[in-house]
Symmetry: C2
Subunit: 136 residues, 2 copies
DNA sequence: ATAAGTGCAAAACATTTGCAATATA
DNA sequence: TATATTGCAAATGTTTTGCACTTAT
């Protein structure tokens, strides 16, 4: 990956912000400082940073919203590759306490554990691919 | 809230699905069964269901994606009202184990605790509003 | 020099809104 | 009957893409 002026500025802006900015917010912050910066460069750069693990995507993994009719306390496993979200229950996780300083300020608090990794399917696909490469 | 044919069908569709569907997916599943159903009704209905707590929004809380430059293990508090996401660290949370049956199938697993509630600001606003109503 | 990266403009996709018609309570 | 809800169409917002140009390596 080449080190361009745009990439440096975008990364610096990210490091200096505590608010988990959106592409648009980063663009607005930088457009005066980086002459001729375009919004799609911000998109492409963030996407590239995420791919190499320099930043994390926090919200809106896919393009669309997704809904869950399961109201019982439960937790989520999310596949990093295919995006599948699997509900699971866990008595152990249900007992995890909310930190006092957060609980003090809030009402109607919900705590959920989110695990991210590769699901069985995608893991198998990956292994298959490796084998395939070996055989060539 | 009135019980309409569309709402009943959308709710049934949600209950019958394990895949945390998007508005579009629900619309595609139902459009043949529910004559003349429109996508914006699905949007409005899901939004209404969420407002009364009948379903949960799992992904894409805001409209845009949001990124996090913090790569150290940390956890998230998210305000249900203003959408602010606050990072926090916790040695206690960092020790939470991944269930064996999930760990067995996956590599490069990440576990994060997500707490949802009202932040200080929004909680104060809420109290102010109540006072205001009282005074009228 | 050669590709990767950029800016622009347009396309594609996701979500919201105004309004007249419809159906629930 | 009164009004919340709907369908339609148009507006708004978000993300992706093709292409010619630029720039880091």
């Amino acid at each position: 990956m080449r080190v361009t002026h745009q990439k440096v500025m975008i990364y610096k802006s990210l490091l200096g912000s505590q608010d988990h900015p959106s592409p648009e917010q980063i663009y607005e912050k930088l457009k005066n400082a980086v002459h001729g910066l375009s919004l799609d460069t911000v998109y492409r750069t963030l996407s590239a940073f995420q791919k190499i693990g320099l930043i994390d995507l926090v919200e809106g993994y896919g393009t669309a919203r997704r809904f869950d009719p399961m109201l019982k306390k439960h937790h989520h496993f999310r596949c990093r590759k295919c995006g599948t979200i699997i509900d699971f229950t866990s008595e152990y996780y249900d007992k995890i306490a909310v930190p006092k300083d957060i609980a003090r300020n809030c009402e109607n608090i919900k705590l959920q554990v989110k695990i991210e990794g590769l699901c069985k399917k995608c893991l198998n696909k990956k292994i298959t691919t490796k084998k395939h490469i070996k055989n060539n």
